[in-house]
């Protein structure tokens, strides 16, 4: 299973406030 990433921080925080889970931010400079 691969990690299901989002790029929308504010939506992730809103989801977290809705009682989901903590937010994990991965700051990356890896080649895209």
């Amino acid at each position: 299973m691969s990690i299901v990433w989002t790029k929308d921080v504010d939506q992730a925080l809103a989801d977290a406030r809705a009682g989901a889970r903590p937010v994990l931010l991965d700051f990356s400079a890896a080649p895209m």
């Binding site: 299973m1 691969s2 990690i3 299901v4 990433w5 989002t6 790029k7 929308d8 921080v9 992730a12 925080l13 989801d15 977290a16 406030r17 009682g19 989901a20 889970r21 903590p22 937010v23 994990l24 931010l25 991965d26 700051f27 990356s28 400079a29 890896a30 895209m32």
Partner: protein, 138 residues
């Protein structure tokens, strides 16, 4: 991977796509991992690459710190215990043992848990800075 999906809402922020998010959250290097509570409060940060077990231990430590901050001490205990006992070779293990004792104390009010933790450090992680910090409880 499933641990990450089940435990967090994972957000990928690439320096070329979202440089302002680096400023917003104070990320100064890559890779950097931050764990945020729902109100946006940063509870844990990992800077630089880590081998898999150390990385997993740090993520669990972050979950523990987050539960501790919410005063959910039983949950915090569970995560700290997991790190200390199942990932004992990780750098996070000694820190987890320290905070396990603090969580037990905070959850019960019984200072005996701090003394027990100081005793535990006499046979585990003796050379860690966390053993020095716990030594005052002996």
């Amino acid at each position: 991977m499933s641990f990450i999906n089940e435990s967090f809402i994972p957000v990928k922020i690439h320096i070329k796509e979202q440089p302002k998010s680096f400023e917003r959250f104070g990320a100064q290097w890559t890779p950097t991992i931050q764990l945020l509570d729902s109100d946006g409060t940063k509870r844990h940060q990992i800077e630089g690459f880590l081998p898999a077990d150390d990385f997993l231990a740090q993520l669990k430590l972050g979950l523990a710190h987050s539960a501790f901050a919410r005063q959910e001490f039983k949950d915090a205990e569970s995560y700290y215990e997991d790190v200390a006992n199942t990932l004992p070779k990780s750098d996070a293990a000694a820190e987890a043992l320290y905070w396990l004792g603090v969580s037990r104390y905070k959850g019960s009010g019984d200072p005996g848990f701090l003394r027990q933790t100081a005793e535990a450090f006499k046979t585990r992680f003796q050379d860690s800075s966390w053993a020095k910090k716990a030594s005052v409880w002996a």
